[in-house]
């Protein structure tokens, strides 16, 4: 009799669990930096499953940001399950236009949930917010910082502990840092700013420092032709063409890190995502600083956000919310930041003991955080691919001397206006 009862109870529990286990969360995520990060993500998912029996989490690694977006959208179109995804923060307008995502505000309704949405750095929410609603929850986020070679600074007679604070200082210091060999060829440049791949992103920093953002908050107007924006591009071009402290032409994003660690440039602008890699390969002491100011400091944010897809059941949405809250909790955010070099996404993450200890031992880890107060969202508009390429092409045409910055940017603005007219 007892055994029958036991079996019946077990069956009942089994049934209940089976009912819960119906909630399965599939999510696609990209990895854009080095390291065995799929294992880290799988570990987080397993940890979450243990704490929340009945919810299954299936993370699917989907390549780089472009691949992840294509795969997630293809899966949705084909009716494959995908409840959430980490996608490029600037994909937001595209995803809204495709009508595949809903704002997190729709599911995060309790007071605690609302406080959670407010817990992130405002700078990181700017790319995820549309018409006042949060569509993107920050996860793997980065920003641009300046790396400098302290040995080179010493050699040039500069204070090795002090990075340039503004454009004038950067030009002057870079001038002193240029080193030429006996035959007059440059063996070390003063500064390098990459201009392939993510030229628009680097340029946003220049523009912001000169007081301008490149697009409006509704993503339907660009600001490429403002005189201060043109002046910003002129400054970037002058670093190579006039001051001769940077190579002329474009600087390759992919090899810049090696150029810096091999001592071929004394300063570089690069993503915080490279911090761990530079730390591992630089054979000289190096510093990390905020980007220099013109009218003000400034740097765009970048990276990936969590999006919630529209085609989901209420149970799935609830489970997805719980999972994303788990993934963005201060402890995990601190852990993720140390594993990758991405920034901690909330002030609470930087207050955790482990990130505090890490920052005490390695101060560059918190430069990105301190720069947040000057941050601007990454360039993102409707028709974002084309609008961004217009700017990329204009920048490269200017840096290679084929067009004047003013002509190039004005032409890009005219084209962007044509593309965005119907969204206003």
């Amino acid at each position: 009799m007892r055994s029958i009862l036991a079996i019946a109870t077990a069956a009942l529990i089994g049934l209940a669990q089976a009912a819960w286990a119906d909630t399965e969360i599939t999510f696609y995520y990209p990895i854009a930096v080095g390291g065995p990060l799929t294992k880290v993500i799988d570990g987080y998912a397993a940890e979450f499953e243990k704490a929340n029996p009945g919810v299954k989490v299936k993370p699917i690694y989907a390549g780089n940001y472009d691949d992840a977006r294509i795969k997630a959208l293809a899966a949705l179109k084909a009716g494959q399950p995908a409840q959430i995804s980490v996608l490029f923060s600037i994909d937001i307008y595209e995803l809204i236009e495709q009508d595949v995502i809903i704002p997190w505000d729709d599911v995060a309704t309790s007071a605690a949930d609302k406080a959670w949405i407010k817990s992130f750095y405002p700078a990181l929410m700017m790319n995820g917010t549309y018409k006042g609603k949060a569509y993107g929850i920050p996860f793997q986020r980065s920003t641009i910082v300046m790396y400098w070679n302290k040995d080179a600074f010493k050699e040039a007679g500069l204070d090795p502990e002090k990075a340039p604070a503004n454009w004038t200082e950067m030009t002057q210091m870079a001038g002193k840092l240029v080193k030429k060999d006996a035959s007059g060829n440059v063996s070390r440049w003063g500064v390098m700013v990459p201009s392939t791949g993510y030229a628009y992103w680097m340029f946003q920093a220049f523009a912001r420092q000169n007081g301008q953002d490149l697009m409006n908050r509704d993503g339907n107007k660009t600001n490429y032709a403002h005189p201060d924006v043109i002046a910003a591009l002129q400054y970037w071009r002058d670093l190579g063409a006039k001051h001769k402290v940077m190579p002329e032409g474009t600087v390759e994003w992919g090899t810049l890190r090696q150029a810096f660690t091999e001592g071929k440039t004394a300063m570089m602008w690069h993503t915080t995502g490279n911090l761990t890699a530079v730390k591992g390969s630089a054979k000289f002491p190096f510093g990390v600083a905020m980007l220099p100011a013109s009218k003000q400091r400034g740097s765009p944010t970048g990276g990936g956000n969590f999006y919630l897809f529209k085609k989901t059941t209420p149970e799935e949405r609830k489970a997805a919310l719980a999972f994303v809250q788990f993934m963005t909790a201060p402890e995990r955010a601190a852990d993720w930041s140390m594993a990758t070099g991405y920034v901690g996404i909330s002030p609470a993450a930087y207050d955790t003991p482990k990130l505090k200890a890490y920052a005490a031992e390695f101060p560059p880890a918190v430069v990105a955080r301190d720069q947040f107060q000057y941050a601007t969202p990454e360039l993102s508009t409707f028709q974002t691919g084309r609008v961004r390429k217009l700017l990329d092409d204009a920048i490269q045409a200017s840096l290679t001397g084929q067009k004047q910055p003013a002509d190039a940017l004005k032409a890009a603005q005219t084209e962007a206006d044509k593309l965005l007219k119907s969204y206003r």
């Binding site: 236009e97 035959s183 390429k389």
Partner: protein
């Protein structure tokens, strides 16, 4: 009954061909007459509007010019080099197998690996080319960052990669040539150059045609290296037609316009193949 059996044998190949070649080609053509649909604005028939857009697109004309320059830069050079290498390794020379293999090695490497390799050849200052140039006191050059050199850099790399592959075909053809021809030419007192010009080269024409068709297709088809080396930059100076199609389709999400570009690419390749087979075939056979 016999027919049924034949058709059954053809079915597997036919399904694959139709499913993955013919149907996509036709679907692409149809898509090029429609606008790109979003949830808000469904796709609709627009006739030739996409083609009008294409005619007005300066980047399209630029990538087309780039592609023609790329073809002109890579095809003759790689064929000439392949022929030269084949004749060289067809002779009896010490360590012949080793030389043959080393010429062939670039071919077996994946294009993406090759591009990563060459990225570090071309990188200013720390790259191989600049390091060697520095020994001779030559200034560093920003090879891939300069619109006037980037295309040549890509062409050199492609020739390096492809010539070994074409060499194999020439080598096979050379070995099938009857040795009596050479003996007869020697008895007649023909010079080596005369023998090559009047006997070897004409006999190699079928191989040349084959290689030419392949080289032409490759010059429009190979874009893997752009992802690594330049992403089409600076300012589209190294952008090629197929890479532009990729950008339009997967970065701009303009699937209809990408279809339109694809139709143009297909038409171009088909036209070139027809011209090559029609014109050159007349001069190919020597029986």
């Amino acid at each position: 009954m016999r027919n049924v059996y034949g058709w059954l044998l053809l079915t597997p190949a036919a399904i694959l061909l139709i499913g993955f070649t013919h149907y996509p080609a036709v679907a692409t053509l149809i898509d090029s007459f429609f606008s790109t649909g979003t949830v808000v604005r469904p796709s609709r028939f627009v006739g030739l509007a996409n083609y009008a857009l294409l005619a007005d697109d300066p980047i399209f004309w630029q990538v087309l010019r780039n592609n023609l320059a790329f073809a002109a830069g890579t095809i003759p050079t790689s064929i000439a080099l392949a022929l030269l290498m084949a004749i060289w390794v067809n002779d009896k020379l010490p360590a012949r197998a080793l030389v043959r293999m080393s010429y062939f090695t670039p071919t077996i490497l994946p294009m993406v690996a090759v591009a990563n390799l060459w990225l570090f050849f071309y990188t200013p200052q720390i790259g191989l080319i600049d390091k060697v140039a520095a020994v001779f006191g030559m200034p560093s050059h920003n090879w891939l960052g300069d619109p006037s050199t980037v295309m040549a850099c890509l062409a050199v790399m492609t020739v390096w990669k492809e010539a070994g592959f074409f060499m194999i075909f020439y080598l096979a053809a050379l070995q099938s040539l009857s040795p009596e021809l050479e003996e007869a030419a020697k008895i007649e007192g023909a010079s080596r150059w005369y023998y090559f010009r009047r006997v070897t080269f004409p006999l190699l024409m079928p191989t040349t045609l084959f290689v030419l068709v392949n080289a032409t297709i490759n010059s429009f088809k190979l874009v893997d290296h752009l992802f690594i080396l330049t992403k089409g930059g600076p300012d589209n100076a190294s952008n090629l037609l197929l890479y532009y199609i990729y950008q339009v389709a997967f970065s701009f999400f303009e699937t209809s316009y990408a279809s339109t570009l694809t139709v143009v690419l297909l038409a171009l390749l088909a036209a070139m193949a027809i011209v090559q087979f029609q014109l050159i075939e007349k001069r190919v056979h020597y029986r």
